[in-house]
């Protein structure tokens, strides 16, 4: 449908002649025809500057999803399945919501980890599951043969048992479960590309909320948390305490087979590489440390201020899928101002500047 109001059609010759806020109001409040026209007008000027501006305006004017009644207290709907060492998903159902624990520790860890992550997002951010629309949570354990990984496949969680040489079972760390489910949240909210700086931000967001799931479960304040990612995951004999440290990136392990933790804590150590989708698990150390800095500056529970700022940044329509560290950082500052006060703005600015992100 593209019916142009004749009287205003001439403005097409002069893109952006109407102040953007007027266009925005038309998009938000106009009739369907007016909205089509306004969106068409916004897309006439195709310079990068205008495209950037317009994308943000259109996104700001169109709510991500329509408001809907929120159930009084959303509760998790969990199903745990067992792939029995195959790579067939989802496998045999072994525990469903409300059922008692079973003898298989991986099943119970997955069940509890999904529950803790659901509870965190629900209680802290009033988010109803991964998609904020009450998605039922499915996890498969014992995936593959000695499979050294856990992942969110876009629809469900998958956990391997680990090879026992380098890695234990991947259900062992609550922050790993929170990390993986957060990839689902990021995919739903921001769609951050999994490449280079946007990919490192995608990884960092998963580490941030994975760690917060654990801190929330333990009732820890920022100063008392270990800020480790994957504690307990390294098999006996591997020299290290975890996979990553948000507090001190680059110090989590140093092992002959695993190598040395090479996460930078500052832009001066940013790693340019083509492997690992542009070093997404390496350069995430920089935004991880920035979040840690902010959380420590705020004090108290890290999810209350720093977590809230990062979460609303992830949901911000202005966050582009190919966001750089600087772009993300600037949006956290905007959110600090919107949600809190000038002190919060300063704390967030300092947190990023300390890791060499120039904002």
């Amino acid at each position: 449908m593209h019916l142009e109001p004749r009287s205003i059609a001439t403005t097409r010759q002069t893109p952006c002649a109407l102040p953007p806020n007027i266009l925005e109001r038309i998009i938000r409040n106009g009739t369907e025809e007016q909205r089509d026209w306004a969106l068409g007008t916004l897309s006439l000027d195709t310079t990068n500057r205008m495209v950037r501006l317009q994308t943000a305006q259109i996104a700001a004017a169109l709510p991500r999803r329509r408001p809907r009644p929120v159930p009084a207290s959303p509760s998790a709907r969990r199903t745990i399945a067992d792939a029995q060492s195959t790579e067939t998903l989802p496998g045999k159902t072994v525990r469903t919501e409300g059922q008692a624990s079973v003898s298989d520790v991986a099943v119970n860890e997955a069940y509890d980890g999904l529950g803790a992550t659901f509870d965190f997002y629900s209680a802290v951010f009033h988010r109803d599951s991964i998609d904020d629309e009450g998605l039922a949570l499915l996890a498969t354990v014992h995936y593959g043969d000695h499979y050294d990984n856990a992942f969110w496949n876009g629809e469900q969680m998958v956990f391997g048992d680990g090879d026992g040489e380098l890695f234990n079972r991947f259900t062992i760390s609550l922050d790993v479960i929170g990390h993986e489910l957060t990839h689902g949240v990021t995919e739903d909210e921001a769609g951050l590309a999994y490449l280079n700086q946007a990919g490192a931000l995608n990884e960092s967001v998963s580490d941030v909320f994975g760690s917060l799931v654990k801190q929330y479960k333990l009732g820890q304040k920022a100063g008392d948390a270990d800020w480790l990612i994957g504690e307990g995951l390294l098999a006996p004999g591997v020299q290290g305490v975890a996979l990553r440290s948000m507090k001190a990136p680059g110090t989590a392990f140093d092992d002959p087979v695993l190598g040395k933790d090479d996460q930078p804590a500052n832009m001066s150590g940013y790693v340019r590489t083509t492997s690992d989708n542009g070093g997404v698990h390496t350069n995430s150390g920089i935004p991880n440390k920035a979040f840690y800095n902010a959380a420590i500056a705020f004090g108290g529970h890290a999810w209350e201020k720093a977590g809230k700022i990062w979460y609303e940044t992830l949901r911000s329509p202005q966050l582009r899928t190919n966001a750089s560290f600087v772009a993300f950082a600037n949006l956290t500052v905007t959110q600090a101002r919107t949600l809190f006060d000038a002190d919060a703005v300063r704390a967030v600015q300092d947190a990023w500047r300390a890791v060499g992100v120039k904002i």
């Binding site: 992942f151 999994y194 995951l233 087979v257 989708n277």
Partner: protein
């Protein structure tokens, strides 16, 4: 490739939750005859690939398989899901002895 040829294979696995590059390898000279033959057959069945690939989704693996058949070298790149012709070799190498990390 003849029965007697020496075949060495290194599997380099990158990405995953850990985001670490892990190397494992096999050498026909270290294997009993039956297993050596199986390794030769699996290597011969490897499909040609065109250069490095990125992970298909967050925290999924990518694999580079380095092959040396009596000095003739080849390199194959796979992302998950690994194609059927390469799956058994990747599976076999995933249980092979660990090699030191390249620093």
């Amino acid at each position: 490739m003849t029965e007697a040829e020496r075949v060495r294979v290194v599997l380099e696995r990158s990405g995953g939750f850990a985001g670490r590059t892990i190397r494992r390898g096999l050498d026909t000279e270290d294997l009993p005859a039956v297993e050596a033959d199986r390794l030769r057959a699996l290597v011969a069945a490897l499909p040609a690939t065109s250069g490095p690939v990125g992970a298909t989704a967050p925290d999924r693996f990518t694999y580079a398989v380095e092959v040396d058949v009596s000095g003739r070298r080849g390199l194959h790149h796979f992302a998950e899901p690994v194609p059927a012709e390469a799956r058994d070799l990747v599976q076999l190498l995933s249980r092979a002895p660990l090699l030191p990390a390249s620093r």
